[in-house]
């Protein structure tokens, strides 16, 4: 019988250490499939964030650098400017990218740096134990918002994809989700498209992926998926927000 499903070549055999129900493993696989599909692993450099995915280089088989908290887009800029032939991507969470690293991601996007960012939004700081992030939903309880996020005090969650899509520089900006098979199929297509734009040296490409954190949300994995669908998707709508083609049409 023909083998129809196997591990992507550039995903290592190392078991992931993510919590049960975490979607990082799925998103890693989507990245690996895109890189395999485009046959670019030999010229790819990944950049690991600070957060749950800090050790993500253990799960891939190509070159990797490890960034400081939030600084991955600046590192990617450094690599891409001196080695434009390399394929570079950052893999960042919402504390990393939307809080401490907001300056770096906005300016890299605005310069039109030709790398790819995979932005995993699960509304909390996962690795440090579930603190409030800029993406935490209104009234959502976290270890630093024990009475729920009070938007009077800390404002509304930041929609990073919309914020980046508002920049005038051409880019590919998409928001997808890894919380059900139908969404994962679309997320796979978007991540592949993001790398494709980079291979073509077209533009900065960015895919936000709505994710879950059952451990820090205090839910079962199944309930976490339902909560993300019910609470996050209405506030963080899915789809392509911007493509380089759409900018030209304006």
């Amino acid at each position: 019988m023909a083998k129809t499903f196997s591990r992507p070549k550039c995903l290592s055999e190392q078991e992931t250490r993510y919590c049960p129900g975490c979607t990082h493993g799925i998103i890693h696989r989507l990245v690996a499939e895109a890189i395999d599909d485009l046959q670019i692993s030999g010229r790819t450099v990944g950049i690991a964030p600070v957060g749950c995915a800090v050790l993500c280089y253990n799960y891939f088989t190509f070159d990797f650098q490890e960034a400081a908290h939030g600084r991955a887009p600046a590192m990617a800029t450094g690599i891409k400017r001196v080695r434009p032939d390399l394929i570079v991507f950052t893999y960042q969470g919402d504390g990393d990218l939307a809080s401490i690293g907001m300056g770096e991601i906005v300016h890299a996007a605005n310069r039109g740096e030709k790398f790819t960012t995979v932005f995993v939004n699960n509304t909390v700081y996962g690795m440090t134990g579930g603190q409030m992030a800029p993406t935490t939903m209104p009234n959502q309880k976290t270890t630093t918002s024990p009475f729920g996020r009070n938007v009077e005090e800390v404002g509304m969650p930041i929609r990073v994809a919309e914020l980046l899509a508002s920049l005038a520089t051409p880019a590919y900006i998409s928001r997808q989700a890894a919380i059900s098979p139908k969404y994962i199929v679309r997320a796979k297509k978007a991540i592949r498209q993001a790398f494709q734009y980079q291979v073509e040296k077209r533009c900065f490409s960015f895919v936000e992926v709505i994710s879950t954190c059952p451990t820090n949300w205090g839910m079962t994995p199944a309930d976490a998926l339902k909560w993300a669908e019910k609470t996050m998707i209405p506030y963080y709508p899915l789809g392509d927000l911007k493509t380089p083609e759409s900018v030209k049409e304006e």
């Binding site: 010229r43 280089y57 070159d63 650098q65 490890e66 400081a68 450094g78």
Partner: protein
């Protein structure tokens, strides 16, 4: 090559290109913005990379990313900007990547002022980043020496896989002096394929490289820090550089001073000689590693009664001098730290105060 008259900041930029470094990332800050202005024109001429980053923090990571690919890369900044870069410097040290940082020092703390200073001595030599983190720190006393140190810094950074800092006072950046760019200091880049994340295809390898500073296992982190310490110890063995002046006399006073300040001290020493007062100078060219043995020997001469640290800071290098002299002679301080460079007369006055009437 013939001599050209250049402003220090522009000469520093040109020296990096002549050393074979074609990658520069920076953020403007007085008194060294001319480096970025110069290289924004010059890098395109030589097919190099110039990028103005959004902050010094970001720039330090652009340097990290480029350095981790094994490419020669450098930045320039001034004191408050270096504070912002210090996070990235620590990561680059931890990840063992070569890079060159130039600090054209201005007054501090805080915004301080924009005039020349040497007040980042302790930051550069003892506290440049969190963790057990050291840089080789070179301190030029002229534009020519700045050029040579910049050119030497790249192979040294590669030798140690550690950043090198050129620590110049504001005058080094701002003054114009005749310079040459010695061809013999142009070196080929070292082999980087065994560690750099430059893509497996680039090095025709099936093994991936990883550039990182995280070691969660305590034994692994300790072993990592011992490897770094071995590099710092090797610097202490192999990178001691200094000059002496008037040490063949029966001097009563030994001055230790570096950078522009040491040139003022030389003028004071010449004038004092005419007044039959002999004073010697040890001028460190590197301040990490510090020339402890040279300072100890010079201070130990039987004619020498006092040691004087002359610095454009409020007694920072004096700690290294005291450590070197080991209590054998009293060590005094003279300096100014507002932006005015002490005059030879002021240095002479400080020396004469130490001599009994």
């Amino acid at each position: 090559m013939s001599k050209v008259l250049m402003k220090g900041n522009e000469a520093i930029g040109e020296a990096a290109i002549r050393a074979g470094c074609l990658n520069y990332f920076a953020y403007p800050i007085t008194p060294q913005s001319e480096v970025a202005e110069y290289l924004s024109r010059r890098m395109p001429e030589v097919g190099g990379v110039f990028l103005q980053g959004e902050s010094e923090v970001a720039v330090s990571y652009m340097i990290f990313g480029a350095a981790a690919c094994g490419e020669r890369v450098f930045t320039t900044s001034s004191s408050p900007g270096i504070s912002l870069m210090s996070e990235g410097v620590s990561y680059i040290v931890g990840a063992q990547c070569p890079a060159v940082f130039v600090n054209i020092m201005r007054g501090g703390p805080g915004l301080g002022g924009i005039l020349p200073s040497q007040a980042d001595y302790l930051q550069a030599t003892k506290g440049i980043g969190h963790g057990d983190c050291r840089l080789l720190v070179m301190v030029p006393a002229s534009v020519q020496e700045a050029v040579e140190m910049v050119m030497m810094a790249f192979p040294l950074a590669e030798k140690y896989r550690n950043p090198v800092m050129i620590l110049g006072d504001g005058l080094i950046g701002q003054m114009m002096e005749p310079v040459t760019f010695p061809d013999h200091l142009k070196t080929p880049p070292s082999n980087k394929n065994d560690w750099a994340t430059n893509g497996m295809d680039t090095r025709k390898s099936k093994t991936r490289n990883l550039v990182k500073s995280l070691y969660l296992d305590p034994e692994a982190l300790n072993a990592h820090n011992l490897r770094l310490k071995a590099k710092y110890d090797r610097m202490r063995e192999e990178e001691i550089r200094y000059e002496t002046y008037n040490t063949d006399t029966d001097y009563q006073i030994l001055i230790v001073s570096y950078g522009t300040m040491s040139r003022v001290c030389q003028s004071a020493i010449d004038t004092l000689k005419a007044k039959k007062i002999e004073v010697a100078l040890v001028r460190p060219q590197n301040v990490f590693p510090f020339p402890e043995q040279a300072v100890l020997e010079a201070a130990s001469k039987s004619s020498c009664r006092h040691v004087l640290s002359v610095e454009m800071s409020m007694g920072q290098m004096i700690e290294d001098i005291q450590r070197s002299v080991q209590g054998k002679r009293p060590v005094h301080w003279y300096g100014k730290c507002g932006g005015d460079v002490p005059t030879p007369e002021e240095v002479m006055e400080a020396v004469e105060k130490l001599i009994p009437a």
